[in-house]
Symmetry: C2
Subunit: 337 residues, 2 copies
DNA sequence: CTGAAAGCGCTAACAT
DNA sequence: ATGTTAGCGCTTTCAG
């Protein structure tokens, strides 16, 4: 059986209270006593039981992270970011995927209901504002990643609008493309909206229009870009550039264009958003917008820890509650450069 | 404050013992009493505190998963597999990345030392056999994934040899390539060894040789395939096919070949191992061997749960302790098909 | 079938 | 500076 605090106390000839003090660096302990306790801990290879400590202190030193179930390398980067922030602070990471089950079965809510975690990071999941509210009201800090529910909750987002603008400007101003089309992601996501808005703004600022038939619907997933592009290729006037809401669809679109006997970027330029590892390997290499995914996770984890450590401290509320991390265009060949 | 078992007991007019019984479906409880308790639980939105339960029962209903720190989509699939196995059994998943720190700082060992988890899944990490032994001796079941330390520990591996053979046969028998070269992964990994052994066996069986200069060293990571291929391209007699130990290097090798003014697969065929999402997008699409990564994770999680539930039961030892999951060649264009 | 009570291993007052 | 003790919320005997 693993050694307990009693074993340590006995071996060091002190009470468990003293052992607890040296473990937690609380109060003053006589240097000599401390050394004796430390020695006993080493001798016994003692490691405080996390559950007992959590039960007594009402702190678990673990962060909960909820991610969608979809199989997207994107989220893994978020996980890595949160994990590193957590483990640097000696916190553990409890992971839950959002299940496919109907919203009624929100199993991940158990994480906090059962006292498992000190804070939660919700990344890109479908969640109702009132669910988040419920968690917060139980005193569990929540941090959101790529997920904007417009409440007073700390939120980390990639700068979709800024990145979209930079890319749109590259297309319209530098390359002087006049007929830019857009392949959308799922319509309800803010990312998609922001990117589309950016394109539209830039076009307008340059006296150009984004006609309705140049906005075709995709869903971010494989193949949807292909189908969307096919529809564009049936138009009487072809676009000279296509901005896809993500890389996956941009790559699909390139395929459709090639199969149509046209060339990327000579006939039609294509750009995406995300900067997947894949992007640099396709031919022509895809021009896209890099998203700081790892950083999103890291900052979110960091923020969660900060809130935990300032709980009850009013100044914590002074922190901004929506942070945009910069995105940056990655210029490769598919834009015509 | 969240409701406790006392609140439920009071509201149902029973003792906490009875509440505990209905929660855990232990012993018999009078149907009427049970219903009253259940109702109280619903009324109060009661959820048993996981820490308290863990402390009292010495079971945490959580699995620990340790993965390497490297940023490889491969591991994410393992994570998904384990997570789904765990959550299907109402278990939580505690994740730890192996730190870059020296081996002395094995932080993930805390997971079990501190009573955090009921079992551990170690995936593809660097670990000493005696460390695993230590965990097992503490009574924590361990399951290994893509990691073979040759002890009596349940281990899930992809069938590297089988997949390697199938691919080698495709090259040598079907395509009749006579000069097949191999780009290695890091030498110490069993995956790499098995794949190389398979190639060598198939070559010999067909009266062919694998000359030393046709085995060039890579390290699985980006760019290493490129450099390895360059060395092959300097040889007086060029290979007519190259088998890379993974897709990443195969793709790099294709680049090197093209830059050398040769064509894939007309001048030199190239195949890989892994079946990354990327593989189908490069041109020509990469012929490779699919690894059941998600399945490895899922089975490992499943096995961990099984062992937990048969603890102390001798029959548990009857299970095979090394399981090969089938790999399958995915024939695309880069092999010449 | 149910209640009472003794822990599980630790933290955090409260004493001294 | 250190010891004592009452919980934290639950499971699990042991009685009845």
């Amino acid at each position: 059986m693993a050694a307990t605090i009693f074993d340590v106390a006995k071996r060091a000839g002190v009470s468990i209270g003293t052992v607890s003090r040296v473990i937690n660096n609380r109060d003053r302990v006589h240097p000599e006593t401390r050394e004796r306790v430390l020695q006993a801990i080493r001798d016994l290879d003692y490691h405080a039981n996390a559950l007992a400590r959590g039960l007594a202190s009402q702190q678990t030193a673990t962060l909960g992270l909820v991610i969608p179930q979809v199989n997207d390398p994107f989220f893994f980067q978020v996980v890595r970011g949160v994990e590193e922030a957590a483990s640097a602070a000696n916190y553990s990471l409890l992971i839950a995927s959002q299940s496919r089950l109907p919203a009624s079965e929100r199993r991940y809510l158990h994480l906090f209901r059962r006292g498992h975690v000190d804070a939660m990071v919700l990344a890109s999941i479908e969640v109702h504002a009132h669910e988040v509210q419920e968690i917060v009201e139980q005193g569990i800090p929540v941090v959101l990643v790529q997920l904007d529910i417009g409440r007073n909750i700390p939120t980390f987002l990639a700068d979709n609008y800024g990145g979209g603008r930079a890319m749109a400007e590259h297309l319209v101003v530098e390359h002087q493309y006049r007929r830019v089309a857009y392949i959308t992601g799922t319509d309800h996501t803010p990312d998609n909206r922001e990117r589309l808005r950016a394109l539209r703004d830039v076009l307008h600022e340059n006296g150009l229009d984004l006609p309705g038939e140049y906005v075709v619907e995709g869903d971010y997933l494989r193949d949807s870009g292909y189908r969307a592009m096919q529809r564009l290729l049936e138009l009487p006037t072809l676009p000279d550039a296509v901005f896809a809401a993500n890389d996956q669809m941009a790559i699909d679109a390139m395929m459709a264009i090639r199969e149509h006997g046209l060339s990327v970027p000579d006939d039609i330029a294509v750009v995406g958003f995300d900067d997947l590892p894949l992007a640099s390997y396709v031919s022509p290499p895809l021009t896209t917008v890099h998203q700081p995914v790892y950083e999103l996770g890291w900052h979110a984890g960091q923020m969660a820890l900060e809130i935990i450590h300032t709980q009850g401290d009013r100044s914590a509320l002074a922190a901004p509650n929506k942070l945009l991390l910069p995105t940056s265009p990655v210029i490769r060949r598919s834009c015509g450069c």
